[in-house]
């Protein structure tokens, strides 16, 4: 018996979004290195090597991380359950029955609005089990929220 992956990938624009979001951190690192070396003495080897290594690391991270995330982050909503998969080195799959869903939230930061993306968070009565879908297409997210709230509205009880 095996658990298959959730059916849907998130929006492909998420790759670009994750890349852009990671850029400022690396710029900060480079700027910090620039100031560090401009204030210290003459160690030419280090002055060249460290920024070069940093740029290489940054390039690898910016190329690998978003694509890896994009392949792992998946989601699915059936008539009875929500199923998400997320993570990178540590991967987590979460399943919650629709009958136990408490709230459905969407959130869009400024950068995400630029990329027309949205996050959907499905909370249950347990503090341990919010299901998050990052990087969904905004229109898809709206659809998911409508679908989820209608489905959860049909089930009765207080879902604890």
């Amino acid at each position: 018996m095996q658990l298959r992956d959730p059916v849907h990938l998130v929006s492909s624009r998420a790759v670009a979004y994750w890349t852009v979001r990671a850029v400022p951190m690396w710029i900060l690192v480079l700027v910090a290195e620039f100031f560090w070396f401009s204030s210290s003495g003459d160690r030419t080897g280090l002055r060249v090597a460290v920024p070069v290594v940093t740029v290489l690391l940054a390039g690898t991270h910016l190329i690998v991380m978003p694509r890896w995330r994009y392949r792992v982050h998946r989601w699915e909503v059936t008539s009875t359950a929500v199923y998400t998969q997320s993570g990178w080195l540590v991967q987590e799959r979460r399943i919650a029955p629709l009958s136990r869903v408490q709230t459905v939230d969407t959130e869009r930061g400024p950068l995400e609005q630029l990329f027309r993306l949205a996050n959907v968070t499905v909370t249950t009565a347990s503090a341990a089990g919010p299901l998050r879908i990052h990087g969904l297409d905004a229109a898809t997210a709206e659809g998911v929220v409508v679908e989820l709230t209608e489905a959860t509205g049909r089930s009765e009880g207080d879902a604890t």
Binding site: L89, T123, A125, S126
Partner: protein, 528 residues
């Protein structure tokens, strides 16, 4: 949204405009330190160029408030309550109307002066900041909203009407601590499930709280002595003791010190045990609730509604296990997950003989199997993982001792480092022995831990969902940690390092049907 009628106002509504008077006042108040900073900065530069900073700050706060008013909207339809907030970071919270459990209406002094009230709509979700907060509405509107929510949720589900109608209290306070004389005191037709046997105090020295209590008292005592200004060597008996210690060999001192410490811990922990658990009694009321009463000086009575009980935890810390004792606590909904060993008020049995604990657990659950059933072990890979994960500690200690010796430190370091190896190995072996799970009747049973071993018995009805987590190493070993999420107790109960197919079959049997759509029988090709 289609409106099923019934005269509902399903359009988007805004907060009261008067909130513009509340928010700036409050936020300017919060921003006062920053504003003072700005004013000082304005002064310090002297030439007046920075003087506009403070008014600008005030303006900014006001603009933010107005924006918040403009962007915050809510609506109530037959199916759901929705709240929209945010300009740059847009957020929509939706919750089905019949999941609304509580409606809190509160008003601070400032609110009251302006005729406003704050409405907080609770869904029972424990997520911090995930409630729907409407700050602020006019008092009339707030009252109307409460009535509206009550009206809505009364229709689809019958048992929630009562909960929503109460404005200030949560749906049903499941646990109450009140004096024995109170209404919750045990009555005549109660059946007694457990009663403290005075001999149980012998377990006190083997509890962590006993040891910690003794350490705390010693700490406070030494500080008191310091504050009084007496040097500890001035105290008669101690001076005699120190003089005596100078004339005896070191090992005698160590042995005597340990013996003294043992007596000290024993006396204090026995006292502590008696103070909190003396006269302990667990009874069941025929109308479906459990009551505990306990305490020597302060008596405490606690009631637990059985319909809020989702299972129980059998705690067997290493020391207690050594003297064949265990402790019980209940897994109940409605209380926030508490920190600390024994979630306080949901305690069902103080440290007591294991047989008693098992009998009480069986009586509480109405089924003896969950606490007696032999657990399925998690196999050789899980065992290897226990050892692999334990190794870093002695490795670090040995390397550190090596460095210390090389620098000429005392050989005692080497001894400690060497001793850490067998201790770690024994702990890892014990951790593996503890690891196990089972499905017993309608209960999911999982056990783990060594220094603090716990058998969790969770009613499958109380399981809200599954988290299946795999680290990189677990993926390579084909293991997973299956966590059952629940609204009760610790909120999560994990089955650690179990083989993937077993985890899936366990989840499938505990909540039949939930996984059906996502399971495939044949090994699927790796996608994506």
């Amino acid at each position: 949204m289609n409106d099923p009628g019934r005269g509902l106002n399903t359009s988007w509504r805004r907060l009261s405009v008067r909130m513009l008077l509340v928010h700036p006042v409050r936020e300017v108040g919060q921003a006062i330190p920053a504003l003072i900073g700005l004013v000082v900065a304005g002064r310090a530069t002297g030439d007046g160029q920075m003087r506009w900073l403070a008014p600008l700050g005030v303006m900014l706060v006001i603009v933010v408030s107005v924006l918040r008013w403009l962007t915050t909207r809510y609506r109530i339809t037959a199916q759901q309550v929705q709240l929209r907030t945010g300009l740059l970071r847009r957020k929509t919270i939706s919750t089905p109307t019949d999941r609304v459990r509580t409606v809190h209406v509160t008003a601070s002094a400032l609110h009251r002066v302006l005729g406003l009230a704050k409405v907080e709509i609770g869904t029972g979700s424990h997520q911090g900041g995930h409630g729907l907060l409407l700050d602020s509405l006019r008092v009339v509107e707030a009252a109307g909203l409460r009535a509206e929510l009550l009206h809505h949720s009364a229709a689809p589900s019958s048992d929630l009407g009562g909960a929503v109608s109460s404005s200030q209290t949560p749906a049903a306070p499941p646990l109450r601590a009140e004096p024995v004389a109170g209404a919750a005191g045990p009555g005549r037709d109660d059946t007694e499930l457990a009663r403290m046997d005075p001999r149980w105090v012998r377990f006190a020295p083997f509890t962590m709280s006993g040891v910690l209590g003794a350490v705390a008292i010693a700490g406070v005592g030494s500080r008191l002595i310091n504050q009084v200004g007496v040097s500890i060597t001035d105290v008669g008996p101690i001076r005699v003791g120190v003089a005596y210690a100078r004339h005896t060999p070191l090992w005698v001192d160590v042995m005597q010190g340990l013996a003294g410490l043992a007596v000290f811990v024993t006396v204090l922990s026995v006292g502590g045990y008696a103070l909190s658990y003396w006269g302990f009694r667990l009874t069941r009321h025929p109308e479906g609730s459990l009551h505990t009463t306990r305490g020597l000086l302060t008596t405490r009575a606690t009631s637990i509604e059985e319909r809020r009980l989702r299972g129980l935890e059998v705690a067997e810390p290493l020391l207690l296990r050594a003297v064949r004792a265990a402790r019980l606590s209940g897994i109940t909904t409605g209380l926030k997950a508490r920190r600390g060993a024994d979630g306080g008020s949901s305690m069902l049995l103080p440290p007591a003989p294991r047989a008693v604990a098992r009998a009480v657990a069986a009586a509480v659950l109405g089924d003896p199997t969950p606490v007696q059933v032999a657990l399925t072990a998690h196999g050789p890979i899980a065992r290897r993982r226990r050892f692999m994960r334990a190794m870093p500690v002695p490795l670090v200690l040995i390397v550190a001792a090596g460095v210390a010796l090389w620098r000429g430190a005392s050989p005692w370091f080497a001894l400690v480092a060497a001793l850490s190896v067998p201790v770690t190995v024994m702990l890892a072996a014990d951790r593996y022995r503890s690891l196990g799970h089972a499905l017993a009747g309608s209960f999911l049973v999982t056990r783990s831990g060594s220094l603090y071993r716990r058998r969790d018995v969770l009613d499958c009805d109380g399981i809200i969902g599954w988290n299946l987590r795999q680290t990189y190493f677990q993926r390579r070993a084909g293991l997973a940690t299956l966590t059952a999420t629940t609204a009760a107790g610790r909120q999560r109960y994990a089955v650690r390092d179990v083989r993937m197919p077993i985890a899936l079959s366990l989840a499938d049997h505990a909540l039949p049907g939930l996984l059906d759509d996502f399971l495939v029988s044949a090994p699927a090709p790796v996608t994506g």
